[in-house]
Structure formats: C-alpha cells, structure tokens
Amino acid sequence: MRLSAKSATLLALLALITLSPIFFPSSFYYRVGSLIFINGLAVTGMVILIGYAGQISLGHAGFAGIGAYACALMPVHWGIPPVFAAILGAVISGVLAWLVGRPILRLKGYYLGVATLGFGVLVFMVLTNEAALTGGPDGTAVPDAGLRDLAKMAGLKLKSSEFWYWFCGLFLLAGAWLALNLHDSPTGRALRALHGSEVAARTVGVDVARYKLQAFVISAVYASVAGSLAAMQNQFVTPDVAGYMHSIEWVTMAVLGGAHSVLGAILGAGILTLLPQVLTAFAEYEHILLGLIMMLVMIFMRDGLLPSLLRLIRGKE
C-alpha cells in the first residue's frame, strides 16, 4: 500500500527524532535537537498560517514571549505551577490572537505584515519596559517545571538536555500530526481556498474572516507553546524571545523549507537552527556564509527546500 503523505511525514519525523541520537557525538547535540524541535513546532504553526491560509505574520514571536513569560511569572507572582502556567499562557495567547486577529486580519500582504510586526513590537516593549513585573531587558529566571523529576520518578534518568530533547520531540510530533490532520480536513481546505481566492472562497460559503482567525489563533498557540518549552528548558528568559527578529526567522524557516509542507518547514527550522552551530567554525565569516546559503537555496530551490527536492527525486523516477 502506498503511504499517504501524512503518514509518510509522521514516520519520517519519528525516525528522525528517535534515530538521530545514535549519531550524537556528545550530549550537547540533544540541546540542539530540542531547539530544532521547538523552532519546528513554532514553524509548523506558521505553515498553518502562511502555507495553508496564505496570511503573513511578522509578530508571532510576541506569542512565544507570552508563552515564555507565563512560565516565568505566573509561578513566581501567583504561585501557579509552571506546567499549568504554560497551558494558561497558550490560552492567553489564543485569546489575544483572537482579539487582535479580528481587526488585523482584514489587512492583506505587507500591510498585514506590518500590523503583526507592530503587535510583536508592543509585546516586546511591555516585556522590556515593565521591569517591575518582567525583570526588564536582562530577563528573569524561570522556575524549574519539575518535569524532569517526574520522568525520574517514572524511572527515566535523563540528563537535562536529553530530557528536553525527547519532551520537545514529542510536542513536535503532536504538533505536526495536528497540522497534517488539518491539511486535508474541511477546515484545511477552507483555509487553502481563501488563500487561493478570497472572493471565490466566500462564494462557496467560506466565512473568510472566521477561518483566517482560526488559523491565526492556532498558530499563535503553537508559538506560545514553543515559547513555553524554550523558557522551561532554559530556565531563563529575556524579552528577546518576543523580538521581531525571531518572528522573521520563523517565516524564513518556513519559506526556506517549503511553507506549504509541514515536513519542509520543519526541515527549514532544522537547517536554520543548525547552521549557526556549524558555522561557528568559520568564526567571523559566519554571517557571510549564512546569507549566502539562504540566497543559494532560494535561487535554486525557489519553492523551498523540500518541495524542490521531492520534485527532483520524482523527476528522476
């Protein structure tokens, strides 16, 4: 039987997550792996927003900021356990996305881009300026979520980076599964339809505003969870998580890998997370090379890495 694209993607991911550690020369690579998964999760959200619904956001790091700071502040200020704080953070992100999404999503293209950018900047400013609450630009500590201890009790003794590797890997799998479910579902089709033509989508009965909002909210929750995971793992967070450079980075990852495909986008996240680690060997030439690689990929694989590679493979069949 031929594998459906969905099962193939999930299997590929599962294999990647479980088999990679065999080749890890040191436990540091678990850390990089977990960062890839965290970015991958956020970027999967971007696929739903950009790839499916065709809406751009340059402000999603703002939601990551909310997720991250929820884990940092709620336990300290209100005594909420970190895990619940993360869930609450996701809820807050979702609700906020719902609120700002309504007016913002009427805009199109670059105008939507600048509006979301503005939203991200506002979150960043609050996190930076309300130092009394957030610790200001130098950041604040995030209390230990205790998840590793939980794993220990369950008989899994893992180093911190190993634990987070598996934990974030699990989240990525779940996130990818949901996003893939969505793709060929009625909702996913409605999203892709409004991407293709809003007028036509409306005439077949798609409530365009509502579906855009759904995509926005879902992707915001993805970003928020990614932020929470990063904060809990790092046990420290600075307003940088919400910086617009991160938002742009996520969009770049998605487009570089192939914004229409979940696996492609995760690949993009993997490459752009890994590259800076690899390029440290070139010291001050790091940025030159990074920029060069990005340009080359987009010149020669204009629809993104994965779709172009797949076409190449299929072409040879």
Binding site: L178, P186, R202, G205, V208
Partner: protein, 264 residues
C-alpha cells in the same frame, strides 16, 4: 412556482458612472434567465451585487422571500446562491479535485476540533465531499485532471472547473457569467446541455453570455441591459427581433448565416 430570486430597482455607480441603474426582474425555480447586453452594460456588476461582492446603492435583492440585499457572499451561499466568475477565480494553490471539493464546503464543514484531531466524523464528511466532487469532475469532463494542480489547466478547462465548483454547492440559484467563453461550438453545446439539465432539477439559473446561439437556445427569458439600464426583455424570439437590441448589441448581420441553422 413562486419567485425564488427577485431583484428590485437595483443600482450602483462607480465614480459618477451609473454602472447599473434601476434594474428589476425575477426568477423562478427551474427557469433560465439570460442577461445580455453590450460590453460594459453592467451585467457582471449586476451579478456582483446579487452575489454580495458589491453593495448595491439602491434597490433590493430577495432570495426566497428573504431580503438579502448586500449580504455577505458566504451567507448567501448558505441560502443557496452560487456563481461563477467572468474573471476566473480558481484556487490556484490547490489540485483540481480540491477545487471541486471546496465547493462542498457548506456540507463538509464541521467543528475545528474534529478536523484537528481527524475524528471519524470529520473524515466521513471529507470522504462524502470527495466522492461528490469526483462525480462532478466527471460530469464536466475533468475526471482525468483530478490530481493535477489547478494552475496547470488551460483556460477552457478552468472555466469548467468553476462550473463544477459552483454545482458542488447544490445551489438553488446559480449565476453563470459567460460560462462558454473560450469554448468552441461543440464544447459550448456540452455546457448548454449541462445547464439545461441543472435547470431541470429545479435550479434557477441566471446566465450572462455573449454566445447568442446558446442564449437563444436555452433561455426561458431574456433581459437586455445597455448602459446599466434594462432596455428590453421577453422571450428569445421577441428580444432577438427588438430593433434596439439589434442596434445596441447584436449588430445587423447577427442573423444566422445560412450555413448555421439556428438551434433555438
């Protein structure tokens, strides 16, 4: 049967130009009403107002006795109004099949959660829509293209895809804007047949078309627009003889050539 769609004194202008002015007509189930008129007469604009793409500045639109003037297209769709576009509006980022399935949106949509979690209910709805869509593609002759990207179709085929998508909604009222444009005489006849079939199922059809053979062949009633205003109406035979219609639209040598026997 009673009136399904009625348009009363509808009108709109663009920067001083009265694109449509004071146009009224009504449409019963199973009826095929054609709107003809010179280029720029306001036919497409009329469609845009009825289907909620433009907000009319004057007049009313009633659908099954409900006032739906200026209602959002998606809400109109729920009430059974569907259309195709003169300037094609294809979901270029989707396969031909997905384009057709999108037409089933109203019957396949459900809860977001069910879709996210791939619950059986969601799967079932999607499966039903898919089967229906495949049947429709068959009907418009696109079955072999189902899996190709819509962006790769030739113009004439895209036109048919739009019709399939519109039919997928199982509309009560169907607005077709130049469905036969880009099709040759034989292909036009296929489309003819399809429209007549659909009308026979009780769908009210509003048609804009410049192919007079087709219009004369299948219309029950014709409304003629010029400069946004209704200048004539009646059955095909009456309208085609109307001197104003001939002068403004048909032209003097529009009479069927001996080689082309009129079908009507």
């Amino acid at each position: 049967m009673s009136t399904l769609l009625s348009v009363e004194n509808i009108g709109i202008s663009f920067g001083g130009l009265r694109a449509v002015h004071d146009v009224s007509f009504s449409l019963r189930p199973g009826e095929i009403l054609s709107v003809i008129g010179p280029n720029g007469a306001g036919k497409t604009t009329l469609f845009n107002m009825i289907s909620g793409v433009y907000q009319p500045e004057q007049g009313r639109v009633r659908l099954a006795d409900e006032d739906v003037t200026g209602m959002r297209p998606d809400l109109l769709a729920r009430r059974g109004l569907s259309r195709t576009f003169q300037n094609l509006q294809i979901f270029q980022n989707m396969s031909v099949l997905d384009n057709a399935i999108a037409g089933y949106h109203l019957s396949e949509r459900g809860s977001l959660l069910a879709d996210l979690l791939h619950l059986p209910a969601s799967r079932q709805r999607a499966r039903n829509a898919r089967q229906g869509a495949l049947r429709l593609l068959d009907r418009v002759g696109l079955e072999r293209a189902a899996e190709t990207e819509a962006a790769n179709l030739s113009y004439g085929r895209l036109k048919r895809l739009e019709i399939a998508r519109a039919l997928a909604m199982r509309p009560k009222v169907l607005l077709l804007d130049e469905p036969a444009a880009g099709c040759n005489a034989v292909e036009t006849e296929e489309i003819d047949r399809m429209i007549v079939e659909v009308a026979a199922e009780g769908v009210a059809i509003l048609l804009v078309e410049h192919d007079m053979k087709m219009v004369m062949r299948i219309s029950n009633h014709i409304v003629v627009l010029d400069h946004g205003q209704k200048i004539a109406e009646g059955d095909p035979a009456t309208v085609s003889r109307d001197p104003r219609v001939i002068a403004a639209y048909l032209g003097t040598d529009a009479a069927p050539t001996p080689e082309e026997p009129a079908h009507a």
